[in-house]
């Protein structure tokens, strides 16, 4: 297999407001994110030769209509919660092929035109198989992971709460985040139970949002800017189906899809020791336990050591390997198709040194990790400055 390393460059990024955007439509957010990216790259809409849209909602997802971007190929990508990074991956592969010089990748989702408990949980309950998985939700699934982690390795309520505290700390420094305030351990532990043992403040909120990236071949990138960012590795793995809870091989601690996608991305990027070589990461922290499992599955530490990553401050903004300097899904919410592209936005800005008070030190290689469904599909993307 060939590597994507140093073939594709990100030359512009944009990000809409994330939150309860009752005043913005799906189309409004796509326009906000994309036109910021156009401006960042210094290009005109007419320069776009192909586009990809990561979105999950089947009814409303269109890029051509809000952007009036007609007469070019546009592809919608749906791959569970990893739709954003998978759209980015598909765009990069097309640009690397030489078929298109400049391409647009957008991730977008409108979640809050319905009340939050009328979206994901209810739709899975009401529209899935009549009998199998009846009562399954994503938070319940990750609650079961947390219960096994507690049983096997021990995991205090305080440590689990500290994941959310860290994210809120970073989100408070980010003017684009939905939650821009600090919280403490007690507030998390006093919040209502949602799916045992996960409480409300262990969960990413349900929000609206969109993000965009403009990509080109490396040789063309310097025509647009000097501080372009290079794609170093693109990993993607689908390692289970929706029925993971019926799979006797599943241990509730290991997402093979993360492990395989990460291994592939590390090989392409020439990374031997991710703990030492990755400068910072944006990982899929849909629930606090998920972030701890991500550290282990991405190879940042061994099995059972993820909790120490939090307790010893390794993943904090000032730590050795800052994780979710943006504030993560916890602070931005998770508009499903948007999250992966929002990670690309954060990593690009960090690598360009433009993140102000949340800027990480010595940002050379940044990793994005986008986990879909019950660990079904995972994308891992590594970006680096030249």
């Amino acid at each position: 297999m060939n590597s994507i390393r140093d073939k594709v460059a990100v030359i512009g990024v944009g990000c809409s407001r994330f939150g309860e955007n009752f005043d913005l439509s799906y189309e409004d957010m796509i326009v906000d994110a994309t036109y910021e990216a156009y401006k960042d790259a210094g290009i005109d809409p007419k320069d776009i030769q192909a586009a990809w849209l990561g979105t999950v909602n089947p009814e409303i997802g269109s890029l051509a209509d809000p952007l009036r971007l007609f007469d070019i190929p546009i592809t919608r990508v749906e791959n569970y919660c990893a739709s954003g990074l998978d759209a980015f991956r598909n765009g990069c592969l097309a640009v690397a092929s030489g078929m298109y010089d400049i391409a647009l990748v957008v991730g977008a989702e409108k979640m809050r035109d319905s009340p939050p408990n009328d979206t994901l949980v209810a739709s899975v309950y009401h529209h899935s198989h009549p009998l199998l998985n009846k009562g399954m939700s994503y938070i319940g699934f990750f609650g079961m992971c947390a219960n096994v982690y507690r049983e096997k390795y021990g995991l205090s309520e305080e440590t689990l709460a500290r994941v959310a505290v860290k994210s809120h700390h970073n989100g408070a420094l980010n003017p684009r985040a939905f939650f821009q305030r600090e919280i403490d351990v007690k507030t998390v532990m006093d919040s209502p139970m949602m799916a045992h043992p996960l409480r409300l403040l262990h969960c990413a909120p349900v929000t609206d949002g969109a993000a965009a990236a403009i990509i080109t071949r490396k040789e063309l990138a310097k025509n647009f800017r000097n501080d372009y960012v290079l794609v170093k590795g693109l990993g993607m793995s689908v390692s289970t189906g929706f029925n993971i809870n019926f799979n006797p091989n599943y241990d509730f601690l290991t997402f093979r899809s993360t492990q395989i996608a990460a291994k592939s991305a590390y090989e392409q990027a020439g990374i031997k020791d991710p703990r030492k070589e990755i400068s910072f990461a944006e990982v899929h922290d849909c629930f606090s336990i998920t972030e701890i499992l991500n550290y282990e599955n991405l190879g940042f530490c061994g099995p059972g050591e993820g909790k120490r990553f939090i307790d010893e401050g390794v993943a904090s903004l000032e730590g050795d390997l800052p994780v979710n300097p943006s504030g993560g899904l916890k602070s931005f919410g998770h508009p499903i198709g948007a999250s992966g592209v929002r990670m690309i936005y954060e990593i690009t800005k960090q690598l360009q040194g433009k993140c102000g008070p949340r800027q990480v030190k010595n940002a050379k290689l940044g990793l994005a990790h986008n986990l879909g469904g019950t660990g079904i599909a995972v994308g891992v993307t590594i970006l680096g400055n030249q």
Binding site: A122, P130, L131, M194, H196
Partner: protein, 133 residues
Amino acid sequence: MPFTSLPILWREQKQDLALYGVKCRKCGAIQYPRRRVCLDCQSKDDFDDVRLGRRGKIASFTAEYTMPTPDLPLGMAVVDLDGGGRVFVQVTDCDPEAVKIGQAVELVFRVLHESKGLYNYFWKCRPVEEAVK
């Protein structure tokens, strides 16, 4: 009202009502729900039907407060069945937050929901001790 479908219930009656899984003739893996390709060795259409055990142990569990159901919390458990196979079912007849990993449970046949004029029966689990009372 949860989705239901007469063709699905008819097509899957042996799987869903009689709780039959399949056992791979090549590698011996017992799997549920039924698929045509083996989970472990990917051999195709090479299975024997197998009636799954009605008792097992809890592999993990949760108690759901977010479900659109009237009786919360809704207990959910993954159960490793005696004799092989794993199912994911609702927990019943006990406090769903008091169950433990490794606890012995038995499967019981219950109405899961009623929709489109159909009683949708499926399996739930309850602690074995409760059954003795």
